[in-house]
């Protein structure tokens, strides 16, 4: 085959362009640490990475929300634990009132103590978290329990508030005041009636109040168990989200990260090849038969 100067030049340029492209690719990989810097570098990997990055961002958001929600649930749980103690305290006071050795003075003291418990329960029922009332249903900006003339009225509603913890899990994030404090037997009414029964030394009413307090305590314990379960669920989901994100991150890295050792090797090889090609071209172009004619 006849090789003309044009053939040599064309072939040389094509080879150099190809080497320069590889050199450029290796440079880009080393500069960014990524083997996929453009969609066209690997369309499948780029599109997958794009989609999975969105999922990772979503997971990060769920994680942040879960942590925040856990704070709310833990506050709810601590309020519930305090309420259970207060109700137990009221039960103890009722038992003392039924002992048969009470005097009017001691019954008055017991009634005062029961009123103290009632006030503490009222205060706890209006607990706020992050500026929102915990037990107001969805009326979170309205003080839910207001006392007027010895009667406590509920200003909130019975609507649940749900929170999504991941794509498939939604939990109720609130305990409504209606179900915890108002539904019969209402803790406020039970304590108010118990106080009156103690003052009147009405043993039957005191026994009835004691039984109602058992019911209230049982309801609060059940609610605390649900809240406790939800706290554990958030912890489990946070771990699952972290693991999922880590798995996705590894997957994206496997698809798009550059193999730096290979990139460095590619860069060295192409640089040497370019140098050799330039040198060879300079040598080849030096001679033809004309150089030997006299």
């Amino acid at each position: 085959m006849k090789i003309t100067p044009s053939t040599q030049t064309r072939t040389f340029l094509e080879n150099i362009y190809r080497l320069r492209t590889r050199e450029n690719q290796a440079h880009a990989e080393l500069a960014t640490g990524k083997s996929v810097n453009r969609l066209s570098d690997n369309p499948f990997a780029a599109a997958q990475a794009s989609r999975l990055t969105a999922v990772m961002a979503e997971n990060d958001q769920f994680l942040a929300i879960s942590q925040q929600l856990r704070g709310k649930l833990e506050t709810t749980d601590s309020v519930l634990q305090a309420l259970i103690l207060r109700v137990d305290e009221a039960k103890t006071l009722a038992a003392q009132a039924l002992s048969g050795t009470t005097t009017p003075e001691s019954r008055a003291a017991l009634a005062t103590a029961i009123e103290g418990v009632r006030q503490e329960v009222l205060s706890a029922s209006n607990t706020q978290f992050d500026g929102n009332f915990l037990f107001a249903g969805t009326e979170t900006s309205t003080t839910p329990f207001v006392e007027s003339g010895g009667a406590v009225t509920y200003q909130g509603n019975d609507d649940p508030i749900y929170q999504r913890l991941d794509r498939s899990v939604v939990i109720q994030s609130n305990v409504t005041g209606q179900s915890l404090f108002i539904d019969s037997p209402s803790v406020f009414e039970v304590l108010e009636d118990l106080k009156t029964a103690v003052v009147n030394n009405d043993a039957a009413a005191i026994r009835s109040g004691f039984a109602d307090l058992e019911t209230v305590s049982s309801r609060m314990n059940s609610t605390a168990a649900v809240v406790g379960n939800n706290i554990r669920l958030t912890e489990q989901l946070e771990n699952a989200l972290r693991t999922h994100t880590q798995t996705l991150q590894e997957h994206v890295s496997n698809m798009t990260d550059a193999n730096l050792a290979k990139s460095i090797s590619d860069l060295n090889i192409t640089t040497q090849a370019i140098s050799a090609a330039l040198g060879a071209q300079a040598q080849v172009q030096q001679f033809s038969l004309l150089d030997f004619l006299r």
Partner: protein, 465 residues
Amino acid sequence: MWSLFDSLEIGKKSLAAQQAALQVTGNNIANVNTPGYHRQRAVLEPTSPVPTLIGDLGTGVTVSQVISVRDQFLELRISQATQNVSMQDTMAAFLKQVGTTFDTEDSGIQEGLSRFFNSFTVLATDPASSPLRYGVLSAAQDVATSFRNTARQLIEIQSQANSAAEETVHHINELTARIGQLNTQITIAEAGGHEAATLRDERSSAIQELAASIDIHYYEAEDGTVNVSTAGGDSLVTAGFVSEVRTETQPPNGFIGAFVGTREITDSVRGGKLGGLLEVRDRLIPAYQQELDALAAQIIAQVNAAHAAGTDLQTPSTSPAANLFVPAASVAGAAAAFSVNPTVAADVRYIAAGQSGSPGDNSNALAIAALAFQKTLAGGTQTFSESFAALQFEVGTDEHSATLQSGIGNAMLTQLENSRDSYSGVSLDEEATDLIRFQRAYQAAARYVSVIDQLTEELLQTLGR
């Protein structure tokens, strides 16, 4: 009767022929780097012999013609390869721009969608919070801006392709006019029976350049003229007559259409730069626009529907709530018109996080956030994010494919051009060999003339005593 003067004549003819051959060689060497130049060759032929009693006596040599060495079949294959390479190169260059537009980091759509739906998840933690409502508004404006920017960039690239197509048509007309002129000149120049090699080289170059601009068919007629037509069969050049490619601005977007005579060829151009430009302008970008618009329209419609199912925080609260995004007038153009409802943008209390009007009700925020992972697109198989990723995949694959095809086509073209050079190109080694050959022949002819001269002188001296 044969005389010494006849012998001198043979020497003279030989000197002239070798000198002419040397000149052709010199011309080849001079044009070693001239693009499109085909190596020329002096055709040496013996002159007519003189019949004698002892048989025909030769009368020397002459250069019957100077011809250029060309392979029509190779030229044709190169022109076909050029059409393909030029189209793929053009597509690859434009798709590179499109690819940049859809790159995850540059486009911002994927990140914007993620931020937008996540902002509702965050709002659900405190639905009445003003800062979180501003977070939703900001994310909504970001996602709308991302769609608008991407749509605008696609339109810009499409307009660039249109402008380039118009310039290419002008260039095509310049080339066809030049080929027509050369046809006429070649006809005149070759009327005497000699090949007009230089003009033919110039015409070959013009044809290859034309092939790089548009897909063509051509053939050489018996009179030496070349007839060129589009791949669709519309004649562009017939001998010295040229049909211009006209352009007309067409609705709805004012892009040009190409016509030969009254026939529109816009849709039938399938090669060359013009083919690549029209492919990008009329098929690829509209397909991307259509998918982007469909995605935008779905997001707008679904988010608005979910938002309207809620209740805002106004006093008194209103339900159904206002649209969060300005509804798309039509699917076409939805991405370019993507924007947040100005009413909502002016007052974030219009954002409907709940469905009851209670400040702690987050049910609607949760419903809108859940749209992010509901497979409502592509027949219930894709989420919004997956739909955009599929579009990114399509764009990336198209660019990858065009770049790959361009590389393969260029390698094939190089191979063909090397083959042509091998046959028609100027090799300095070959020319140097010819140089030696003709130089030696010239030296021998000169020596022959010298010998005849000596014989003549000797004869004159002998007879002159």
